[in-house]
């Protein structure tokens, strides 16, 4: 086993684009679930809006890159409105079902042959990222420290992305210590109580859905740009649950919870994956136990185990305060 390789790859993963994508999605989920108590299981739908916004915007509508970014955000807002107007009155479990169903509707529609022209069907879209990488001020070469070094374009994406993470977190921080955030936290606990005090609960939930949805669209931007392509099947329900697990790991209802959670969780996944690969390579694991092909599947088993274990043993995550937890809301 080559521990050096394991170490290098894990360190590389710390701030690599997968952590970034997860962090942005999880910040949005945190606004929804952590602060407002909205059980949104369709976060990937917002990410898809962002991703297809830039991809279809540039390739199908032939918009400039900047305008298609706005299109992605507008689509996410539109989705929040479409989804929110009818569903924000629903109980938590129904909201979960409706949001997960809507994200599947988006994915299945995007991949269908009917919309191949707009969305590229099942093979998706590419060739839209140039507008972004044209802005790259970093010359060719490798940037970073030690194993966490990235080529110029990737480094540019990461710098922009993590800056965005910081800005979004700052925004969440400011909002949640304001009276606006107080209303959200009240809703998280008992929306009828808040309603009885004269607050327009549905209106606040909608604002929360939109805000978190726009963060979701940011994560879609990062996802699309990191791959330089958009493939519908990357926008399945597992994306949402990965982000959800990351948020819970860090601590729902904490500003840094989803960011730290995403980084740690992604790194953990890479670590375990590489330990298995190395152990496999060294012949420590027989094919009957785990074949080389299946190492990728282990990460999802791990997602499940982490979700279960956290929920059972430490629902407040690493940084959360159990006294303040949203989970026993109805």
């Amino acid at each position: 086993m080559d521990f050096g390789v394991i170490f290098d790859r894990s360190v590389f993963a710390l701030f690599a684009d997968q952590s970034l994508i997860l962090a942005l999605a999880a910040i949005g989920l945190n606004v929804h679930f952590g602060y407002t108590g909205l059980l949104n299981f369709g976060q990937v739908g917002f990410a898809a809006m962002g991703a297809y916004g830039i991809a279809s915007g540039v390739t199908y509508l032939e918009l400039p890159f900047g305008v298609s970014l706005l299109l992605g955000i507008a689509l996410a807002v539109l989705l929040a409105l479409l989804l929110g107007v009818p569903t924000l009155r629903l109980r938590a479990d129904y909201l979960a079902i409706v949001t997960i169903a809507s994200s599947e509707v988006i994915r299945l529609t995007a991949r269908s042959a009917e919309f191949r022209e707009q969305t590229g069907g099942s093979s998706g879209l590419g060739g839209f990222a140039q507008g972004f990488y044209d802005l790259n001020p970093f010359g060719p070469g490798s940037y970073g420290i030690g194993p966490a070094s990235y080529d110029s374009n990737r480094f540019f994406l990461l710098v922009v992305g993590w800056t965005l993470v910081v800005l979004c977190s700052l925004l969440v921080f400011l909002l949640m210590r304001s009276p606006w955030g107080r209303v959200l936290r009240g809703i998280r606990e008992d929306e009828d109580a808040v309603r009885s005090l004269g607050k327009n609960v549905v209106g606040y939930k909608m604002q929360s859905l939109i805000l978190g949805g726009v963060f979701g669209a940011f994560s879609g931007f990062a996802f699309a740009l990191a791959n330089s392509s958009v493939q519908p099947d990357n926008y399945g329900t597992q994306f949402t649950f990965l982000a959800f697990a990351a948020m819970i790991l860090g601590g729902a209802g904490r500003v840094i919870g989803p960011v730290v959670g995403a980084i740690l969780f992604q790194t953990l996944l890479v670590l375990v994956e590489n330990v298995l690969i190395e152990a496999k390579g060294a012949g420590y694991i027989s094919d009957a136990v785990l074949s080389g092909n299946d190492i990728g599947a282990v990460r999802f088993v791990l997602v499940g185990v982490v979700l279960m274990a956290l929920m059972i043993f430490r629902p407040q995550g690493l940084f959360g305060d159990k006294k303040e937890l949203a989970l026993d809301a109805r």
């Binding site: 790859r9 590389f12 684009d17 997968q18 994508i21 997860l22 059980l39 990937v44 009818p86 569903t87 009155r89 629903l90 109980r91 479990d93 079902i97 409706v98 169903a101 809507s102 599947e104 509707v105 299945l108 529609t109 269908s112 042959a113 099942s122 093979s123 009828d192 990062a222 990191a226 791959n227 330089s228 990357n234 399945g236 597992q238 994306f239 697990a245 890479v270 590489n274 074949s291 080389g292 092909n293 299946d294 190492i295 990728g296 599947a297 282990v298 990460r299 999802f300 088993v301 997602v303 499940g304 979700l307 279960m308 929920m311 059972i312 629902p315 989970l327 026993d328 809301a329 109805r330």
Partner: protein, 469 residues
């Protein structure tokens, strides 16, 4: 810790309830049971033709690969087109079949001694399937001479899309909407009944324990795989294999409740936390299935290859008739049982108000346990039936889960008859909608219906409203 039996409301309400066995022991039992099943699966699964596995591709530090959600590495394409050639019930071997997309050949296959063939395709989409008439044995012809090609739409996660070539005596078949409708109705009825097997369990579990079980799809998949292990692995005929699988499923369901859900209820884990736990469980199970059963979809040893029997305007496979009949019988029995028996009444009492039921002498945890056993057994049966028409694959149940929710919510969460009616509507709807929309969008149609129902009538069609204050 998982096993700390904290004093929850149940305990205060159930002061007279007998002490439960240590949950830790139960948990171990579940793990053992699962391990046994896994062993059965790995031992029983045929040594799949071991193509040298492609080297695992970790995200090498320079490679721009960002994909937190993509399917795991090395997974075979799950989609394919398959069929069986038979002439008057006799399989036809050695016929060459080619699949094209946009004029490009995607793959070819030759029918085996059972008349079966399968061509893996790179992904969902529209394909053309061509049968090489030259390779047909002497004396065997296509019923319709011009019908040597078929246009097939492969849906996502479908496993095998069927392409049917009819051999033997010629018969001209039109395909106007009106002609297709009866066939689709039969298909929809069958699909709806099979969905109902899963939906009733889902609904009962919600009704009695309050859990929205996102792992129910994996119970269905587990059933299909368990059936496969007994049928293909151990060589049992599918009928006894199904019976055994249903029984084993019931036991495993009860163990799952004892080992996981009951301790969670006991320690007062909130319903939302339990819901998230069920999502975690669904991931664990689904990807363990993938690891130990492998990705490719496979068929059972019997009843996979049949030719339809003509029943007036529709042709029905004999196995589908059996599926419809057995499903109806089972569901009616379950429905009557819930209405008539003592257990049924207890179930409804618990669903109505667990604390009140407890004070009136009902052993709530026992009811929950039986409901879990029953729900899992039904899911196993549903899984095997579903796999008969769609093949066994690790995503079988996951793909059905949202349709189950649609059926259950259509009828109102927590009511058994509601789940049955709702599932039938969803089954018929998904089938009949293909008359008007592309087949690949039929699930979208059903999900849109689900969303609309929840929006217009959040309590479902048969459910009742919540209280305030």
């Amino acid at each position: 810790m998982l096993v700390v039996p904290s004093s929850t409301r149940e305990e205060t309400a159930l002061g007279h309830r007998p002490a439960v066995p240590a949950p830790r022991r139960a948990l171990r039992a579940v793990l053992l049971g699962l391990a046994a099943v896994l062993l059965l699966l790995t031992g029983g699964a045929p040594a799949a033709a071991q193509a040298p596995p492609p080297p695992p591709a970790p995200s090498a530090p320079a490679a721009p690969s960002a994909d937190p959600s993509a399917a795991p590495d090395g997974e075979e394409p799950v989609e394919g087109i398959a069929g069986t050639l038979a002439n008057a019930g006799e399989p036809v071997e050695g016929v060459e079949i080619a699949v094209e997309q946009d004029g490009q050949e995607v793959g070819t296959a030759t029918t085996d001694e059972q008349g079966r063939w399968r061509v893996p395709v790179p992904g969902p989409g529209d394909y053309t399937v061509l049968l090489d008439v030259e390779t047909l044995p002497e004396g065997t012809d296509l019923r319709d001479e011009d019908a040597s090609s078929r246009d097939v739409t492969v849906r996502e996660g479908q496993g095998n899309a069927p392409a049917l070539f009819l051999l033997g005596e010629g018969r001209s078949g039109g395909s106007s909407r009106l002609d297709r409708a009866p066939q689709l109705i039969v298909g929809g009825l069958q699909f709806g009944l099979v969905l109902a097997m899963g939906a009733i369990g889902l609904s009962l579990i919600f009704g009695t324990t309050g859990l929205t079980n996102f792992a129910h799809g994996e119970l269905i998949t587990g059933g299909a795989i368990l059936g496969y292990a007994l049928n293909v692995g151990l060589g049992l005929n599918l009928i006894p294999a199904t019976v055994i699988a249903v029984i084993v499923g019931g036991v495993l369901g009860a163990l799952l409740d004892r080992g996981l859900w009951r301790p969670l209820r006991k320690r007062g884990t909130s319903l939302i936390a339990q819901l998230v736990v069920s999502i975690g469980l669904s991931f664990v199970l689904r990807y363990l299935y993938l690891i130990y059963y492998e990705g490719s979809a496979r068929s059972y040893a019997q009843y996979s290859t049949q030719s339809p029997v003509d029943l007036g305007p529709v042709g029905v496979l004999p196995r589908d008739m059996v599926i419809i009949a057995v499903s109806l019988l089972v569901l009616v029995a379950v429905g009557l049982g819930l209405q008539r028996t003592r257990f049924g009444k207890a179930t409804r009492a618990v669903a109505d108000n667990p604390s009140l039921a407890a004070t009136s002498g009902i052993d709530v945890e026992k009811v929950n346990n039986i409901v879990w056993a029953m729900g899992t057994a039904l899911a196993v049966l549903g899984g095997i039936f579903l796999a008969l028409s769609q093949q066994v694959g690790y995503q079988l149940g996951q793909n059905a889960l949202l349709l189950l929710f649609a059926g259950v919510t259509l009828g109102g969460l927590g009511t058994a008859y509601g789940a049955l009616v709702g599932s039938l509507v969803i089954g018929l709807f998904t089938q009949l909608s293909t008359l008007f929309i592309a087949a690949e969008l039929q699930v979208v149609g059903a999900l849109v219906i689900l969303i609309l129902i929840l929006v217009v009538r959040p309590q479902g069609i048969l459910g009742s409203r919540e209280r305030v204050g």
